[in-house]
Amino acid sequence: MIMKRHLRTLSINSLTEALDIKTMLNVANLLMSGYDSEYVYNRTGFPRNMPMPPREVARQIIEDINSLDLYLDFVTILIQMQEQGLKGRSYRIPYLREMLNDILEQGFVYEPSRKMFIEDPEVRRTPNWGVLKLNEEYTISFLRVDIVGNTDLVRKYPSDVIRSTYADFKNIVTTISEKRNARIWNWEGDGGLAAFYFGSNVHQSAVLSGMEILHELLIYNRLHSSLDEALNIRIAVHSGPCNFFVNPSELDRNETIITIKDLEQNNTETDSLSISRTVFVMLDPLIAKQFTTIKRNEKTECYNYRIRWEGSDR
């Protein structure tokens, strides 16, 4: 995030008015390991036989935070200091409201469950929410969707009908997932992968999205589809560790992605949603009871949801 001049001044004032030099260095050390007075003397060139003025220390810290692009992490620490204190002491941070307003204006919002800033979905939506770092590992909930019988559909219908139908389907998946602050990480014409990372229960958010996609598709098939038949899909949800990659081919080698692919292709019936046990145990009981248990293999089980109407067996 770009730190404008007035924001730098505001941050320097905030540090100087709220904290002594020792605490300032403690805060800096949380962001930049090994940050101490020795380092500040070296950086500023200030004579070592003179005590460093607090404002000078604050100025150097903010300059380093800015150059390493750590401003959002810095404000996150200030928020936690004001809310919970630091090392048993409570602090009131001046100008915090003004700093937050500025961050908001630049398109970031505070995400309390992860205690970090993420991009404001109303302003922009990037695959890493503006904060995930390339090649770093995160625990993510994934939702994978796939159109069943894609090859036959493509052969049977004119390309413009297929194009508009698949675009409608992508729109359904994207709208429903992004409503829960997910990001589409990969889309390949007849299906894709959505990632859920922010929110109070991302496992449940992915599952609710999957259920809602099935409901929405029922209405789409009945009222809006241009096909003579229903568009059928399979959905799977699984959570696990995954590095953030920009290239989708790198995703394919990840163990969590391999598992969700297998779950979707081999353990999910048409027009249903299968979820792994990792996800199932995180669900609210009201949602969990909508799922039936299915044996995945000798050792593991998965859980399945489909729309079951009163008076019908399926």
Binding site: L208, I219, R222, L223, D284, L286, I287, R308, E310, G311
Partner: protein, 326 residues
């Protein structure tokens, strides 16, 4: 495709001989005894043909009953004697095919069946036909609210919405928490009625009535509430004020009333408003969506199988949306 024919004339077999020989299609000849049951028993996508010669002029009331039953089905009319004068009107009332004298002599081909089938599919995406069911004294309220003025009689779409077991919840939660909860209920409802110009009209601490402008052609609230009931558990779970297991019941009706602004309705007398309150309070079961016979005609054709008859209440047929097994 399944074709079912109501006819007691022997030349009908000659007419359908190509279809009878077909491996691709099935044809059934039905008798007139218990024709209501026979219509109901056939699969939903059956194409019915009614041989109009069965009726002649003395059985006109039976004919009307038969057509009203077929309104939800796909049906064609066989009329070799030219009994029907206004053929267009048949199509206005939902028919998908008409067999006049010349066609009857030529025979029914499988190509014709394909064309009829294509017409059925195309028609399903068109707006529903205008139904002539409304009181002549009440104007249609229209596509929006611009022409609606207070003190005049209009036909509106009406939604009755009420939380289940409200007395118990009031006691259990206390008045402050209950009020908070009702605000959430209002917000959930508002999110579906606002985009389709619904106006909260009568509202109390348990629910009330939302009015919609009605143009005589479509009733969007049916689709919106259908979606809401499909997603009702998801909505409850994701709404932090609502995830305590509270449920609600809705009734949709199309009827007439004098329009008065919200807050000035206490002296209003309206049969429709009375009826929807009665259905909501005395007939509706918890966690359910009901439609009166006036509203039921506007259920999109391909969603009709998800609604089932609940019998009569105060001289009105009532339908209920089937529940999703949860």
């Amino acid at each position: 495709m399944i074709v079912a024919v109501f006819s007691s004339f022997s030349d009908i077999h000659m007419f359908f001989k190509e279809l009878e020989a077909s491996m691709e299609h099935s044809i059934y000849y039905l008798g007139w005894e218990n024709y209501e049951d026979q219509i109901r028993k056939m699969p939903a996508d059956t194409l019915f043909y009614v041989d109009i010669r069965n009726f002649k002029k003395d059985k006109i009331s039976e004919l009307i009953d038969c057509f009203s039953l077929l309104e939800e089905k796909n049906y064609g009319v066989i009329d070799p004697d030219g009994f029907i004068h206004d053929i267009g009107r048949l199509f206005h009332n939902g028919a998908v095919d008409y067999i006049g004298k010349n066609i009857f002599e030529y025979g029914f081909s499988s190509i014709r069946l394909k064309i009829v089938n294509r017409y059925i599919l195309a028609r399903e995406y068109d707006p529903e036909p205008v139904m002539e069911i409304f009181d002549e004294n009440a104007e249609l309220s229209g596509d929006n609210w611009t022409s609606v003025v207070t003190g005049k009689n209009y036909t509106f779409g009406m939604l009755f919405a009420e939380v289940d077991d409200h007395q118990q919840w009031k006691l259990k939660l206390g008045s402050e928490k209950y009020e908070h909860f009702m605000r959430s209920f209002y917000n959930i409802l508002n999110s579906i009625v606002e985009p389709i110009m619904g106006r909260f009209w009568m509202w109390s601490d348990t629910g009330g009535i939302v009015l919609f402008p009605f143009n005589g052609r479509n009733c969007e609230i049916i689709k919106s509430t259908f979606k809401l009931f499909l997603n009702r558990h998801l909505i409850s779970i994701e709404n932090p004020d609502f995830d305590i297991g509270m449920t609600y019941h809705f009734v949709i009706h199309i009827g007439e009333t004098i329009y008065e602004d919200r807050g000035f309705t206490s002296e209003l007398i309206s049969d429709s408003v009375n009826s929807i309150f009665h259905i909501g309070n005395q007939f509706a079961e918890r966690d359910s969506l009901y439609l009166t016979e006036e509203a039921e005609k506007f259920i999109p054709l391909r969603l009709r199988e998800f609604f089932e008859d609940q019998g009569m209440f105060e001289d009105r047929h009532i339908k209920r949306m089937k529940t999703v097994h949860l």
